[in-house]
């Protein structure tokens, strides 16, 4: 089983991103459960959404406390919440940012990082910082756990229509292509 925690802010589509990713994974034959965290979500407030997938049926309908991957679709939400809480050893971080890798303080569990300047792409495509589909492209590029084609098919199946559909298809692909992937090599402890 592989567990992903998506961090964002209200209005960026963290929950919808979970739904699209779930659909894409099901198209690839996986079993998926996606559970959003819930409260009185407000635009701009930190939100989280959880997704687990496996080759066999998943029974737990619970939140995720020890993710294999943290997908952060907002550049500053890490200031408000500890996005690394409970992460597993060898975890992956997929982060929207305009900063280079060297400016990140990464905990030792992180083994791979995908960086994507999704806000700039979003402002270009949507004229607003809606980063969810861009960061799904970044997730696919970084982890290889889902194909770009499946994500495209999932977006086709979603409620996006006309111009919105075109924009999100473009956003996905640009996110995929603009992502830099870094393997974090650490010296073994003496």
């Amino acid at each position: 089983m592989y567990e992903i925690r998506i961090h964002g802010r209200g209005g960026q589509g963290a929950v919808l991103a979970g739904g699209i990713l779930a659909t894409a994974l099901v198209l690839e034959g996986k079993f998926v459960v996606a559970v959003p965290s819930f409260g009185f979500e407000r635009r701009g407030a930190p939100v989280a959404s959880y997704l687990r997938f496996d080759e066999r049926e998943i029974r737990q309908m619970t939140n995720i406390y020890h993710p294999d991957c943290v997908l952060c679709i907002d550049p500053t939400v890490a200031r408000a919440v500890n996005v690394f809480e409970g992460i597993k050893d060898g975890a992956v971080l997929v982060q929207t940012t305009a900063k280079p890798l060297g400016e990140f303080q990464l905990p030792p569990q992180i083994a791979m990082v995908g960086l994507c300047d999704a806000v700039s792409i979003a402002l270009d495509i949507f004229k607003r910082s809606i980063t969810n589909t861009i960061m799904l492209g970044a997730f696919a590029r970084t982890t290889g756990l889902v194909s770009l084609e499946s994500l495209q098919a999932a977006i086709q199946e979603s409620d996006f229509r006309d111009a919105g559909l075109k924009q999100n298809m473009a956003a996905l692909e640009r996110g995929y292509n603009a992502t830099e992937v870094h393997q974090i090599v650490r010296e073994a402890a003496a």
């Binding site: 998943i58 029974r59 309908m61 939140n63």
Partner: protein, 407 residues
């Protein structure tokens, strides 16, 4: 993937609220009345969309409150319509007067309770307190574990409610938050096969608003000194019979569903890894998935624990439960709500009542968790399993355990 599916069914990803709306659409419901309330709102929004898109040919009435929701549906049901609504928490409370009347009139309405903890303090999050507060007024109550079970059970509910030996309203309950907004892959059955399964509807053969056959509906039976009270007894006993009959009908309908669609859901109680179990934990609703994983882990360590899930909660499946627990030496019951009168969970209270009539009485303990949206994880169920193992050894139950108290 398509090879595992029935020929005309389709695989979708949806949450429990959307699954319920799909089921209502597939059941060809004629009349829907709604008042949106968290966490039910998206369910009725999906329904409104299905009707607007022409997928479901039904009337939808967006009324001014839940009291009117159920009143509208009572009229529709008396006129012969298949009917649906969904509510929860404060909405369900506001619906209570017509809610009481519905089973007495023997109207086969189906309503989803997207369960929500009750006030107060303020809570918009999941918990079974709303549904548990209305458990004793004559509706059938079934609780779902998964998104797929929500879809399948909501369709089956019509066949159960409309069965001529039952003729009672049915609540299909799914957990607010974890099932209402939790999405999973889900098989959408074929419309033709669902229609064949449900058959012709005939919902007002016994009581009707029909100019061709005028009748007194919901009569005043009269007080002491005349035939009134004995007439009233016949109504009440009939209602109780309908409830008891539903146990058999629920079982038959689940079996037929399994035969037709290939998914066999346990109708009354589900026994999971109970073979050779020394003690058992009991669950209800969406918490069950994590509990089953905890049982698997405990079994792998050599702990002889099994699980019994209650699906049908009203009428209470006392015999089925006693049979499921016949071989174990202790039981730990996990509730997502509170019985204020007994300082324990309501499912626990029902369990010990059922076991009082069983040949073997076993020590039991009440665990309460998942209130107001709290998560019930594998770790919580590990605690329940450990404590119940202790109970099986020493036979000494402790006070109710509140699972999320230290979270």
């Amino acid at each position: 993937m398509s090879a595992i599916l029935k020929p005309k069914s389709k695989l979708i990803v949806c949450d429990g609220n959307e699954a319920a709306a799909w089921a209502v659409s597939l059941a060809n419901v004629d009349m829907v009345a709604v008042y949106p309330i968290t966490p039910q709102s998206s369910l009725v929004e999906y329904l409104a969309k299905f009707i607007a898109d022409g997928r479901l040919n039904a009337e939808i009435v967006d009324v001014e409150g839940e009291h009117s929701v159920l009143s509208v549906l009572q009229g529709a049901c008396l006129a012969g319509a298949r009917t649906y609504t969904a509510s929860c928490g404060p909405g369900l409370a506001f619906m209570f007067e017509p809610y009481l009347r519905t089973p007495g009139m023997r109207l086969p309405l189906v309503m989803t309770i997207v369960t929500r903890d009750t006030l107060t303090p303020q809570s918009v999050w999941g918990g079974h307190q709303d549904a548990m507060s209305v458990r004793e007024v004559g509706w059938v109550h079934m609780y779902c574990e998964s998104v797929q079970e929500v879809l399948d059970t909501t369709i089956m509910a019509y066949k159960i409610a409309e069965h001529h030996d039952v003729m009672l309203p049915v609540n299909v309950n799914h957990d607010g938050n974890y099932l209402s907004f939790g999405a999973a892959r889900c098989e959408l059955p074929d419309q033709g096969e669902v229609s064949a399964f449900l058959g012709e509807k005939n919902v007002n053969w016994h009581v009707a608003l029909d100019p061709q056959r005028p009748m007194a509906v919901d009569p005043l039976t009269g007080g002491a000194g005349g035939p009134g009270p004995s007439t009233f007894v016949r109504y009440r006993k009939g209602q109780c019979s309908g409830m008891q009959n539903s146990l058999k009908v629920i079982t038959e309908v689940h079996e037929e569903w399994g035969r037709r669609f290939g998914r066999y859901h346990a109708p009354l109680v589900e026994s999971y890894r109970m073979d050779g179990a020394d003690y058992a934990i009991m669950t209800i609703g969406s918490m069950t998935g994590a509990a089953k994983d905890a049982v698997d882990e405990a079994r792998a360590r050599g702990d002889k624990v099994g699980l019994v899930k209650v699906k049908t909660y009203r009428p209470f499946p006392a015999q089925a439960l006693a049979a499921a627990l016949a071989e174990v030496n202790a039981v730990g019951v996990v509730d997502r709500s509170v019985s204020f009168g007994w300082n324990c969970g309501p499912l626990f209270q029902d369990t010990i009542t059922a076991m009082y009539c069983a040949p073997k009485r076993i020590p039991a303990m009440s665990f309460i968790g998942g209130l107001a949206g709290a998560d019930l994880t594998v770790g919580h169920f590990e605690r329940v399993i450990r404590r119940t193992a202790e109970l099986a050894r020493d036979g000494r139950p402790a006070e109710t355990v509140w699972l999320n108290e230290q979270d």
